[in-house]
Amino acid sequence: MTLGDIGVPVVPEPSGGPDLVQLLTPEGERVDHPDYPLDISAEEVRALYRDLALVRRLDVEATALQRQGELGIWASLLGQEAAQIGSGRALRPGDMAFPSYREHGVAWCKGVQPHELLSLYRGNDFGGWNPVERNLALYSIVIGAQTLHATGYAMGMQRDGGEDAVIAYFGDGASSQGDVNEAFVWASVFNAPVVFFCQNNQWAISEPIEKQSRIPLYQRARGFGFPGVRVDGNDVLACLAVTRAALDAARTGQGPTLVEAFTYRMGAHTTSDDPTRYRLASELEIWRLRDPIERVKAYLSRSGQADTGFFDSVEEEGVELAAQVRKACVDMPDPDPLEIFTEVYAEQTPQLTAQRELYAAYLDSFEEAHH
């Protein structure tokens, strides 16, 4: 694009434009890209398909659990499976990921268990996994705040030496946040080993991408002094290859990369949202044709790398997973009231200890009244 016509906001092309990196077309045709060669076995593609299908099944079950009152809210990843599985599977065990709040696919790749994932949305805790064990930070609800943590963490890795890298997840809305822009500045001037993975799902609740940016988001990286690339966010192979390359650049001292995964939020923002108030059903229909899972299925079938038996077995596994997710959710015990007071500090303060004791005694007074 030229900046001569700066007065005209750029309306994004639904196709993602000519710079879009794609290795698997919406029709399931495998294509090559000169900058992102991908040598991948049939078994690996089948594994990616399994990830995509299962994480969608998990997501569908969680939405159902919310509708039945078992979860307070759920932020669906529907439509963004490829962006999350592709980037998530590009990570090595030592790599640290900083998610936003919709990265259930990344959490899946990091081995987070269903009850650990759902407990936040059930209102039991703020995320059930141990960030240190999983190398996955807790979800960040404040938009964009985690990108600074990711950058600082990467600066720590830089000081420690080694070849680990960090990935920071955020969305198109977050790209307007000061913290995200500060993270870009920091990562750039300190050459921090971090990949900024922006899932541009076209919508920040009701606000379309035009409300966030006049230029394609990946082009912003140039102004900060590092490369930006737009990848087909519904193409799991391209997301894998592009993220892997960006992580490798980070590992080898080449600093940050901004990856814009061009995708679409096929569901509502959360279970509390009603997208019919602000977008047309026809838009959703266009994106349905670019479904991230269907194209892998088409590719695997057509190339003879998977048969119906394989797809049936994944389907069955999905049914089992859904049952497991449901059970993990409804079996979750309510937290003890006195947990309110735990782990506020590494070293608890005397006043908090006193408050805890007072409240415990208050609760006990009801117990006694019952007897």
């Binding site: 805790d125 703020f126 995320g127 141990n130 960030p131 240190v132 064990e133 930070a137 807790l138 404040v142 705040a145 990108t147 600074l148 943590h149 990711a150 950058t151 600082g152 963490y153 990467a154 600066m155 720590g156 890795m157 000081r159 420690d160 000061g178 913290d179 500060e182 993270a183 500045v185 920091w186 001037v189 735990t342 782990e343 506020v344 500090y345 590494a346 070293e347 303060t349 005397p350 006043q351 908090l352």
Partner: protein
């Protein structure tokens, strides 16, 4: 025993903390080559290198946000916010991110981050350079807040803060940076979160912290000439608040005057008044009185002497309390 300014004592303390633990980092605007606008970090970058004493981009949220990431990775960042009034761009990172991470992660992630803030007025500065934001942070669960008032405390408390596994807002009274006092580096320090009776007395208790401790002491000296024996407590820790030391004092004196530069409404004085009233009601001979800044924005510097509590305003409150 030697004589040090507060700025030099803090510098020595930071140096000792960096010597003691290679994970300790210093980061902020102008903290490296320049040594900080108040020279508190003078010479540290020369001795510890640019990887440990980091001149950051000029963005406060970025300073705290990246410090959080560094702490998650096992580092102990000491962040300098150049002036009190510049901390607000980092407010989310401090109160929603830094303060809550230990709680949110159920103790799996500790964030030993120290945020040094030169605070308070009295130096004739332009706006946003003279504020007292302590109540915001003392109100926030998950943070600890301390204020030093003299070189010895500056030297010891900064090391204790850096060694703490909890995030600490460390307030430095900027108008006292160049005041000197004798102290010995090998003295055994008091616990970080303990108030100190800096002048024992029997007639009335003055509680102050940071820059106001000196004003409280001056008031006690002046009152002595009128035959009044005032006790002065340096609060030192604002969160957790060592109200036990204050309670014990008020039970003896029966009178309390709290002095701070911050506006009185919902300030530390309000909290102390509530606690003392709850726990020492029958010991009180007079209502708890507060001497502080007015409920106005910090005024232009030619009016700051009217805004800031001084010897006479403290003595006026002492008179009112004793007249009860």
């Amino acid at each position: 025993m030697a004589t040090y300014t507060l700025a030099k004592a803090l510098n020595d303390g930071l140096r000792a903390a960096m010597d003691a633990d290679p994970k300790v980092l210093v980061m902020g605007e102008d903290v490296g080559k320049l040594g900080g606008v108040f020279r508190v970090t003078d010479g540290l970058q020369k001795d510890f290198g640019e990887d440990r004493v980091i001149d950051t981009p000029l963005a406060e949220s970025g300073i705290i946000g990246t410090a959080i990431g560094l702490a998650m990775r096992g580092y102990r960042p000491v962040c300098e916010i150049q002036f009190d009034g510049f901390v607000y761009p980092a407010f989310d990172q401090i109160v929603s991110q830094l303060a809550k991470m230990h709680y949110r992660s159920r103790g799996n992630v500790s964030l030993p981050v120290t945020i040094r803030i030169p605070f308070g007025g009295g130096i004739g500065a332009v706006e946003h350079h003279s504020e007292s934001p302590e109540a915001y942070f003392a109100h926030t669960a998950g943070l600890k807040v301390v204020a030093c008032s003299n070189p010895a405390d500056g030297y010891h408390m900064i090391q204790q803060a850096v060694a703490s596994d909890d995030p600490i807002v460390f307030l430095e009274p900027k108008r006292r940076y160049w005041e000197k006092a004798e102290f010995d580096h090998v003295d055994v320090p008091d616990p970080l979160h303990q108030a100190r009776i800096v002048r024992p007395g029997t007639d009335l208790t003055i509680v102050a912290y940071g820059p106001m401790v000196k004003v409280g002491m001056d008031a006690a000296t002046a009152a002595q000439e009128d035959g009044r024996d005032l006790e002065v407590i340096d609060l030192r820790s604002l969160s957790p608040l060592d109200s036990d030391t204050v309670l014990e004092s008020v039970r003896r004196t029966g009178r309390l005057v709290v002095v701070h530069e911050a506006p009185v409404t919902l300030g530390l004085g309000a909290e102390l008044a509530a606690r003392i009233t709850e726990q020492a009601f029958y010991s009180l001979e007079a209502p708890v009185l507060r001497v502080g800044g007015f409920d106005t924005p910090y005024p232009p510097s030619r009016l700051e002497e009217d805004f800031l509590p001084d010897l006479d305003r403290v003595l006026d409150a002492v008179d009112r309390s004793l007249a009860f």
